[in-house]
């Protein structure tokens, strides 16, 4: 009842009817998503790149993945370049954030989202999604670190759960991909999700 009401509310708030497909929930697939940004502070952060990949059942559809570079309005902070490796010149031919997010929305549709610290990515994306559609991303969200926390706590109650990405990789037996970018991180999150799902925490 409540979800139905929320959906109704969102439909009412939806500014642009072109984005109505976001509200048509589609659980047959999931989308793992990751963004690289200029800052870790949501307010200041601007998008640099977005990677996303669909997950159907046990399969990560890396063959149908989504990856765009985004040209930020301000230069990235030097510190953040060290993390994501995207220099200003790398993103100088990127899309505008609005265009990039519109393409992403078309890619994810009504599918639930998966991500490692997804909350942050969604918060940054929502800055643009609100602008476009009038609402934040209405999709169901699956937080990998949260699922992992539940899983570890079930195994060893009262323990301190280490939620660093490298720890998750190791504990779940996920191989490190040869490079870090938004798409490969999205793929890695997808592999983590499948490993957690197998353990009953999907």
């Amino acid at each position: 009842m409540i979800p139905a009401m929320k959906r109704q509310l969102a439909r009412w708030r939806l500014k642009n009817p072109a984005f109505a497909y976001l509200l048509e929930h589609d659980d047959s697939e999931l989308v793992s998503v990751d963004c690289e940004t200029t800052s870790l502070n949501v307010k200041e952060a601007e998008l640099l790149s977005i990677g996303a990949v669909k997950i159907r059942g046990q399969r990560i559809l890396s063959s149908e993945s989504f990856y765009v570079l985004v040209k930020p309005e301000r230069r990235p902070e030097a510190d953040s370049v060290k993390i994501h490796g995207l220099r200003p010149r790398d993103v100088s031919d990127g899309l505008s954030p609005q265009e990039a997010v519109a393409q992403l929305l078309a890619f994810i549709g009504g599918r639930p989202l998966v991500g490692y610290y997804l909350e942050y990515d969604v918060a940054v994306l929502n800055k643009y999604v609100r602008e476009l559609a009038g609402i934040g991303l209405p999709n169901r969200q699956i937080e990998i670190s949260g699922r992992f926390y539940d899983y570890k706590l079930r195994q060893q109650p009262d323990s301190n759960v280490d939620l660093r990405m490298a720890t998750l990789n190791e504990e779940l037996g996920i191989p490190a991909l040869p490079r870090h970018d938004a798409l490969n991180d999205a793929i890695t999150a997808g592999m983590m999700y499948l490993a957690l799902k197998k353990r009953g925490f999907g």
Binding site: R59, N184, L194, A195, K198
Partner: protein, 602 residues
């Protein structure tokens, strides 16, 4: 850098752009334990590469192969579009799924990559040979006579005089000239001048009276290795290179030697000149070193086997000549048997030899000489045969009549030992003394063999002696960490092939001893399907090569060479090929079972 890691065979054959194509089409699939990825009856629409985890290939309840990180499965099924075996997840697995259409398109556009998929197994081995060829600068295997032969022949006419020849050779700085005399072709070399001076031959003598017409030739497309083999066997230093029936060059020993860092021919020469057993012992040591060098130059095991056989034969011959009194040498025939006889013994393993003595010949020194010979070989580094198949054992030191009686017993009352002895004797090769003694003995053996199919079935049955080696992989599966998982490639792979081919050769009266020659003859006479013969040959060649590199590594570590392979120490490609080779051994065993009706005998 690419998104995924495809930096392993067969993907190393792909260009960057092609890898990108593959990457764009790749999906990642997660499989839980005991899930079935491929099975008979469902179409195979992808090639899988293990990212993490373990997948086992099952035929009924038997594990045929195991795939781990970076392993690819299953090329053959993907090409065929279906599979006859099941691929089951053993330990939860993440795999790349590469769509069949994309992979097939790449095999079309990239022949090196394609070779992996359109496996006739032979092509696959060939692809590996090329790969190792990339690593080594120049392999003798691929070098042909044309590559090494740079000397254009200098021609003279048969009616020209010795003096003309001397001028010509000085002018052209040539140590040899070819002599045309009518239809015949001869050779005249600087060495001949020695004899001319000694015989006081006048310098006006026409060349055709002093040159040699019995030329030994080699085709310019022949492998350099074969040329070297010919020189070693015939004890000559030059070959005439022919192209379409015309002499086009002279291949000198030094030309070939420049391809070798060690000189097998020199070893052979030193063997012949050795005047004491101590000298021989020093040379025997060099043979192992030569093998190691040639092997690292990419010379394949079968060719090495033949070379080592030629060298060992001369070593044994020379040792026997030094030990035994001349009349004993003349009235007996020294045999090498088993793998030494077949020319497949590459590193020094057990001595397998025998002495056949002419009927009626007696000599007080026979027993002592044989004892000394066996001891000497032990000293040279050939360990005594645990089964006692050596000349110092009276059973293997017989007069012709005694050997004939023995053969008669073995054929007429074929129990286990008799069949084993027979198998060993069938591979006998004469190395010293009167070779006709062996020929006559073989003829007698052939006359004993009838069309009694049950005899051949009993003879062939030894291939069932050792179970399928792929079972060892199954052990590897269950416990990885406890000790080292090993696989005996002699029992599991080499023996069934060698013995199976031996049985077929015996059945059909094939005269050769070497397994590759037997295979060739069996295929030529239509007694074995050509494709199967090729595959069996390639598989044996690969297994022998694997055993050789294993043995060399063990010798380098100061251990003795064994037949035990540790699959986890092999490269992915080697493991892949080992699986293919063992699968082929299974297929061949099945073929033999059918041919000899092994199911029908108790």
């Amino acid at each position: 850098m690419s998104r995924f890691d495809f930096s392993h065979p067969p993907f190393t054959h792909l260009s960057n752009a092609e890898q990108q194509t593959l990457e764009n089409a790749a999906d990642i699939v997660f499989f839980d334990e005991d899930e079935v990825i491929l099975s008979p009856g469902t179409p195979v629409d992808a090639l899988y590469v293990v990212i993490k985890g373990v997948v086992r290939e099952m035929a009924d309840d038997e594990v045929i192969a195991v795939y781990r990180q970076r392993d690819t499965f299953d090329a053959r099924s993907m090409v065929a579009g279906h599979t006859s075996t099941r691929f089951v997840v053993h330990e939860e697995a993440l795999v790349f799924a590469l769509p069949r259409d994309t992979v097939l398109a790449l095999t079309d556009s990239n022949p090196g990559f394609g070779a992996f998929f359109f496996a006739s197994i032979s092509q696959k081995f060939g692809a590996m040979a090329r790969e190792s060829g990339n690593r080594e600068l120049q392999t003798l295997l691929t070098a042909t006579v044309r590559d090494a032969c740079s000397r254009l022949p200098v021609f003279a006419e048969g009616r020209d005089t010795i003096l003309d020849a001397a001028r010509l050779m000085k002018q052209r700085k040539s140590k040899s000239i070819l002599v045309r005399h009518g239809e015949r072709l001869g050779m005249f070399t600087t060495t001949d001048f020695r004899d001319i001076i000694l015989a006081d031959t006048p310098s006006s003598t026409p060349l055709h009276q002093v040159c040699h017409f019995d030329l030994i030739t080699v085709d310019s497309d022949d492998f350099l290795f074969n040329a070297l083999l010919t020189m070693t066997q015939r004890n000559i230093r030059r070959l005439v290179v022919m192209e379409r029936g015309e002499p086009v060059g002279i291949l000198a020993q030094v030309d070939i030697l420049s391809y070798f860092s060690n000189h097998s021919h020199l070893i052979a020469q030193r063997l012949d000149r050795a005047e004491s057993l101590d000298e021989l012992a020093a040379i025997a040591e060099q043979i192992t070193r030569l093998v190691s060098i040639l092997s690292s130059h990419g010379v394949k095991a079968p060719q090495l086997g033949r070379l080592v056989q030629a060298l060992n034969a001369r070593l044994f011959e020379r040792a026997w000549q030094l030990i035994a009194p001349a009349e004993l040498v003349a009235n007996s025939c020294l045999l090498v048997m088993g793998s030494e006889g077949r020319g497949e013994q590459i590193l020094k393993t057990d001595q397998d030899n025998a002495l056949l003595i002419r009927d009626g010949f007696e000599h007080p020194a026979i027993q002592g000489a044989c004892q000394t010979f066996s001891d000497t070989l032990t000293r040279f580094g050939y360990p005594p045969c645990p089964g006692g198949i050596m000349v110092r054992n009276p059973q293997w030191r017989q007069h012709e009549q005694g050997m004939r009686d023995q053969l008669y017993r073995w054929v007429m009352a074929p129990d286990g030992d008799a069949l084993m002895n027979l198998a060993i004797f069938i591979d006998a090769e004469a190395v010293a003394g009167d070779h006709s003694l062996l020929t006559q003995c073989r003829q007698y053996l052939d006359s004993l063999l009838s069309d009694d199919e049950s005899f051949y079935a009993r003879f062939a049955r030894a291939i069932e002696q050792f179970d399928t080696p792929l079972g060892f992989f199954a052990q590897l599966l269950t416990k990885e960490k406890n000790g080292a998982a090993t696989l005996d490639i002699k029992k599991g792979g080499i023996f069934p092939i060698v013995h199976g081919i031996r049985a077929l050769a015996l059945r059909h009266g094939i005269p050769a001893c070497n397994t590759f020659e037997r295979l060739q003859l069996l295929a030529e006479r239509g007694l074995l399907e050509r494709e199967l013969a090729n595959d069996v040959g390639e598989a044996l060649s690969f297994l022998l090569g694997l055993r050789l590199s294993q043995g060399l590594a063990e010798l380098a570590d100061g251990r003795s060479a064994s037949n035990l392979i540790r699959p986890e120490q092999l490269s992915t490609l080697e493991r892949d090929l080992l699986k293919d080779a063992l699968a082929l051994v299974k297929r061949f065993k099945g073929h033999l079972r059918h041919v000899f009706r092994l199911g029908a005998i108790a």
